[in-house]
């Protein structure tokens, strides 16, 4: 039985896919008399199966060598597109994490979206999401990973566009797709080039190839940068980061998945690409630079957000920036641990935020306050999630960051400074949000706030427990340092940075209810940060307007130059004018036949003498 499950571990992504497909009749509105819930239940069942399946496989292969499966998909000419699957504790563990979080998010959806009649469509998309993600976890082929990343782009578009009639969603969904598409396109260029150079696109072959590859520095750099672009788009890294902010227009359960797992999916591909990236020092440096800029910038931006979801989502970009730095320094292990601890803590924070939104009908932090004593599960989830994000207590991220500091002692010291800064700013931001939402006095919108129902509370509490257990899991996986080996200085630095953030966060003056700072300089800084350094406007006047200009210019040329020339020649006007009336009379047919006959005769006449001449000459 276990062997059977193991041999069929490639089947894990298909559960979600089947769920999504079976759900179609409800999602498309073919079944109208009864409601969409059977679709939701079926997807839940499929996710449970996927979770159990991957869990059993994980238990089995715990101490075994990684196995790989190879499925040839398309073999033609000199191209061999095969889907390699890598079944190792890491990949199956990732699948367990994905299906598990997906399961929790789906139960959560039952509560959060209970009054949404398009529930089936949402569950179909979640199933699709889960399928693509778990496929990504198991994939050992760059081609397959690329395809799945594209599917994630598509499902992000559809999930963000879920409330399609809402005006901001219309632009948000489009921007999310296009931003990611830019990254995907560059990645595709890299994939095509790599396929040509390396022959195979399976990661194991690529690694082998990278050992011996002899590329010119320029080519290696271009290749590396192209390969970085895809994950950078997925992980919302500068300069492809704006979509994540906009994507918060989508329903919250999707945000839970997106901020924890989807961004991690991009980073996971980056992790797998590490050997190829190491061909180019420039690419590695680019990773560090992108990561640093995003980590610091996004942390600052998150502090100025007044929207609860956005305050959290910018910190996602920041943490992915840290992952980028780790990969840039070729510390893949650190990157994976950080991804793992971040995913769980961030999912929990988003669940908490979702239940606040569902209860208070607002996302505006300045309109909230005083929720703690009414909403125990939500408050606990937030506190545990926040401590899981920063390094005050020895929860997940503490150990990830400790490992980071220890491994980076050899790297330039400013990188440790970046980590401490990001950590401190995150701590500040989470403290600020906590004070605004849960502390203080209640306001009109938070005056009556009964705790959410069990569909939302249960996953929240479960994930709270999991977050608390993360250190134990890390210990199980032997990822924790022994007591003696702990670098005391690193611990002191980390705790100090979190504590500083906490202290500043609890002392700063918080504006309530749409008041603005009085001092102009502060106002400028606040606006600069809350509008993401106005980068969207920068794009507006550069790339977007360039494409728009180009397209208008092209259309103008097409209309007035290319087509104009044709019309000028006059042939069209002679025939197309008022002289021809295509009415019900049979005249038109004869007309055409005449023209056609004329044309053929002309052709023959033109070419006949030529041929005749030649024929005669020979």
């Amino acid at each position: 039985m276990n062997l059977f499950l193991f041999l069929n571990s490639w089947w894990v992504p298909f559960y979600g896919l089947i769920g999504a497909i079976v759900t179609l009749p409800w999602a498309m509105g073919t079944i109208r008399r009864t409601g969409p819930r059977p679709a939701a239940y079926f997807n839940l069942l499929m996710t449970v199966l996927a979770f159990v399946h991957s869990l059993v496989v994980l238990k089995d292969i715990w101490n075994q060598e990684p196995q790989s499966f190879l499925v040839t998909w398309l073999k033609t000419a000199d191209l061999d597109l095969s889907f390699a699957l890598d079944v190792s504790p890491v990949t199956v563990g990732a699948a367990v994490l994905i299906t598990g979080l997906s399961l929790l998010a789906q139960i959560y959806t039952l509560g959060y979206m209970e009054k949404d009649w398009a529930l089936a469509r949402f569950f179909a998309l979640m199933g699709f999401f889960e399928a693509a993600l778990s496929g990504l976890a198991l994939s050992d082929s760059l081609f397959l990973s690329y395809a799945l990343l594209e599917m994630l782009t598509l499902s992000t578009y559809l999930l963000v566009g879920f409330w399609y009639a809402q005006p901001l969603v219309v632009t948000a969904a489009r921007d999310a797709f296009l931003t990611k598409r830019v990254g995907d396109l560059l990645l595709l260029m890299g994939v095509v080039a790599l396929a040509t150079m390396a022959g195979s696109l399976n990661f194991s072959d690529l690694n082998e190839w990278a050992q011996t590859a002899n590329l010119s520095p320029v080519n290696a750099t271009l290749l590396g940068l192209a390969l970085i672009a895809g994950p950078a788009g997925k992980c919302a890294q500068f300069p492809l980061h704006l979509w994540l902010d906009e994507a918060m227009e989508g329903p919250n359960p999707a945000s839970v998945m997106r901020n924890s797992m989807v961004v991690a999916g991009g980073a996971f591909v980056l992790f797998k690409l590490q050997p190829i990236l190491s061909l180019s020092p420039v690419a590695l440096n680019a990773l560090v630079v992108i990561g640093t800029v995003t980590a610091v910038g996004a942390s600052l931006v998150s502090i100025a957000q007044i929207d609860i979801k956005r305050a959290l989502s910018h910190s996602t970009s920041a943490y992915m920036g840290l992952v980028f730095i780790a990969v840039g320094l070729q510390q893949g292990g650190v990157a994976l641990v950080l991804l793992f601890t971040h995913a769980i803590a961030k999912a929990l924070l988003f669940m908490s935020a979702g239940s606040v939104i569902a209860t208070t009908n607002t996302q505006d932090l300045t309109e909230m306050g005083g929720l703690w004593s009414r909403m125990p599960a939500t408050t606990t989830a937030y506190i545990v999630g926040a401590t899981g994000m920063v390094t005050l207590l020895p929860l997940g991220s503490f150990w990830a960051k400790l490992q980071w500091v220890e491994n980076f002692i050899t790297a330039p010291p400013w990188l440790v400074g970046v980590l401490l800064l990001v950590n401190g700013l995150t701590s500040l931001n989470l403290t600020r949000v906590f004070r605004l939402v849960f502390w203080g006095h209640s306001q009109p919108k938070t005056r009556r706030a009964p705790e959410v129902g069990w569909q939302m509370a249960l996953p929240m509490v479960s994930l709270t427990v999991v977050t608390l257990l993360v250190p134990l899991l890390l210990q199980q996986w032997q990822l924790l340092p022994s007591w003696e080996a702990i670098n005391r200085l690193a611990v002191v630095l980390l705790v100090a940075s979190s504590a500083t953030g906490l202290a500043i966060g609890s002392m700063i003056h918080l504006q309530r209810a749409w008041s603005r700072p009085i001092k102009l300089s502060w106002r400028v800084v606040q606006d600069l940060l809350s509008y993401d350094f106005y980068i969207d406007r920068l794009y507006g006047v550069t790339i977007v307007s360039a494409v728009a200009l180009m397209s208008r210019l092209n259309a103008w040329i097409d209309r007035y130059v290319v087509d104009g020339l044709v019309n000028l020649v006059g042939l069209a006007t002679i025939f197309g004018g008022e002289s021809l009336k295509y009415s019900s009379s049979g005249q038109s047919q004869t007309y055409v036949l005449t023209i056609l006959l004329g044309v053929c005769l002309l052709g023959l006449l033109v070419s006949w003498p030529l041929g005749f001449l030649i024929g005669w000459q020979f």
């Binding site: 399609y164 595709l188 095509v192 022959g199 002899n214 208008r552 069209a572 295509y582």
Partner: protein, 528 residues
């Protein structure tokens, strides 16, 4: 066996056209459907009998016809034409099915559609240059009439423009064919690649250039394209489906079969230029599509962009890229047909195709939700999202062309991002948002409006997941087509970029050498 593909629709057309009395719209529609369906099924029979591993023509039919002209009725099918024949059969059925039931002058209409289909099938089957030309011209008349009689407001202009362009295309192709036959001192128009090899390279290049322009009009390539958006905008939906889905493929098919097939050396010579031309076409079509407000025009310009990929892959002429041309042709045929069908339904129900007028059509109660969902699929397929045929065909195009023309390939890859730009713009403006007041009370969408689109959508996904079913039929043929090509690519480890500049040098060098060599004289100077 193959003749049936031509004569079944012809018979149907004759039945509808010359039925003595009592022909009503329903009966003629039924006859047309039966004739087209029979032809389509017959194509499938041929597919089942087709031996994919056999290179070269199968099921050949040869009947001497006019010996003085060197014209023979010679048909055959191979891996290049087979998928296109199936596409033709399928899309003809779909076009007839999705025609308006209450169409005016129904007898002429259905007869013309069938003649069109027969002409296209004949062109794909013809193994004789002149026969191909005859069919190529034959298809022109019904299409002209279909646009000119059942078109929109400016149908006269559009139809005439189409006619003139295609007539020029025909003249050039005929001239080139005649040149081939007579310059190689032959009297037969039989398709025979071997004899063009004896011609001087410059002559080959000249003849190829004529073919390029001739078929380039049909594809169409920028700047020979302006007939296409006008024709699409004025044509009714079924005609647009046929035009985009099948007729444009005559251009690419002709290029591959006659351009690449008859002039491999000249083709190699012109390769870099063709690839650059393809880039121009792709980017030009895509950028122009972004600026369009008319959905149909947007899809038409998108067609221009996507047909550019075929030229890119053909120019590279590697075994993989040649295979990719077939896939891309089928993919474009299915996807553009789907898009035109969907735009057609929107137009039929709302009376508008204007991006500024329409909005919120995803509304589940009063909008067109299923059409909108299928549109998402079509848009995504067109933008090359994996899981659909657009992705694998474009991937093969890029992967196949990259080793030969890396710069051109990378540039034309921008087209996929631009496709996403304009089609998402279409999607979000027309289908997202609140239903606009102008279209608040649309007529019902019948299931018969949806079936054709659903069939196409299923095929798009099916071939996207399992492209082997398509590759399987064509690969031996396309590989064989490349056998006569020198290996341009240095594969695997010691990969070398051939930049366009190098390509150009190669070209000009070869050209100069050809012209300079005195021992290859021009044919005129020869004396018997």
């Amino acid at each position: 066996m193959l003749s049936a593909l031509i004569w079944m629709p012809m018979l149907g057309a004759a039945l509808i056209g010359f039925w003595p009395k009592g022909m009503n719209p329903n009966r003629s529609r039924l006859i047309a459907l039966v004739a087209a369906g029979a032809a389509c099924l017959w194509t499938l029979v041929i597919v089942s009998q087709f031996n994919p591993s056999h290179v070269g023509q199968q099921f050949s039919e040869f009947i001497p016809w006019i010996e003085t002209l060197g014209l023979n009725y010679h048909l055959g099918v191979d891996g290049l034409s087979l998928p296109l024949l199936v596409l033709n059969g399928l899309l003809t059925c779909i076009a007839i099915y999705s025609s308006d039931v209450a169409i005016q002058r129904f007898r002429l209409y259905y007869a013309l559609v069938l003649v069109l289909s027969a002409g296209v099938a004949g062109a794909f089957l013809a193994q004789d240059l002149l026969l191909f030309f005859l069919f190529y011209e034959l298809e022109l008349i019904p299409l002209y009439l279909l646009i000119a009689i059942w078109g929109g407001h400016r149908r006269g202009y559009a139809a005439t423009k189409f006619l003139i362009y295609t007539a020029i295309s025909g003249i050039l192709i005929l001239a080139s064919f005649l040149g081939i036959v007579w310059l190689s001192s032959n009297t037969s128009f039989a398709y025979d690649p071997s004899r063009t090899q004896t011609l001087p390279l410059a002559t080959q290049a000249l003849l190829l250039l004529m073919l390029l322009i001739g078929f380039g009009i049909k594809m169409p390539l920028v700047p020979l394209h302006t007939w296409l958006p006008d024709a699409h905008v004025e044509a009714s939906t079924p005609v647009s489906v046929l035009l985009a889905g099948v007729l444009l493929k005559l251009g690419t098919y002709g290029l591959l079969r006659f351009g690449m097939g008859l002039f491999p050396d000249a083709w190699n010579l012109l390769g870099p230029w063709l690839a650059t031309w393809a880039v121009v076409s792709v980017l030009y079509g895509s950028f122009t599509a972004i600026a369009q407000k008319d959905m149909k025009k947007m899809v038409a310009f998108s067609s221009i962009g996507h047909m550019g990929y075929v030229l890119l892959a053909a120019a590279a002429a590697t075994p993989l890229s040649t295979l990719a041309t077939v896939l891309q042709m089928v993919s474009h045929g299915l996807i553009s047909a789907l898009m035109f069908l969907l735009v057609g339904v929107v137009y039929k129900k709302t009376g508008s195709r204007d991006l500024d007028v329409l909005s919120g059509l995803l509304n589940p109660e009063r909008g067109l939700p299923l059409i909108g969902s299928l549109m998402v699929l079509g848009v995504m397929a067109s933008a090359g999202t994996p899981g659909m045929i657009g992705f694998i065909s474009e991937f093969l195009v890029f992967r196949g062309s990259f080793p030969v023309f890396p710069v051109q390939t990378l540039l034309s890859m921008l087209g996929t991002a631009l496709t996403a730009v304009y089609f998402l713009n279409l999607m979000n403006r027309v289908f997202f948002g609140r239903l606009s007041e102008q279209v608040i009370n649309l007529p019902r969408v019948q299931w018969s409006d949806r079936y054709p689109a659903i069939v196409l959508a299923v095929l798009i996904v099916l071939f996207g997941i399992q492209p082997n079913w398509l590759v399987h039929w064509s690969e031996p043929t396309t590989t064989a087509m490349n056998a006569s090509f020198p290996v341009l690519t240095l594969r695997t480890h010691n990969f070398k970029f051939v930049t366009s500049q190098e390509g150009q040098e190669l070209f000009s060098h070869a050209f100069k050498r050809t012209l300079a060599l005195p021992e290859i004289p021009s044919p005129m100077s020869h004396t018997p």
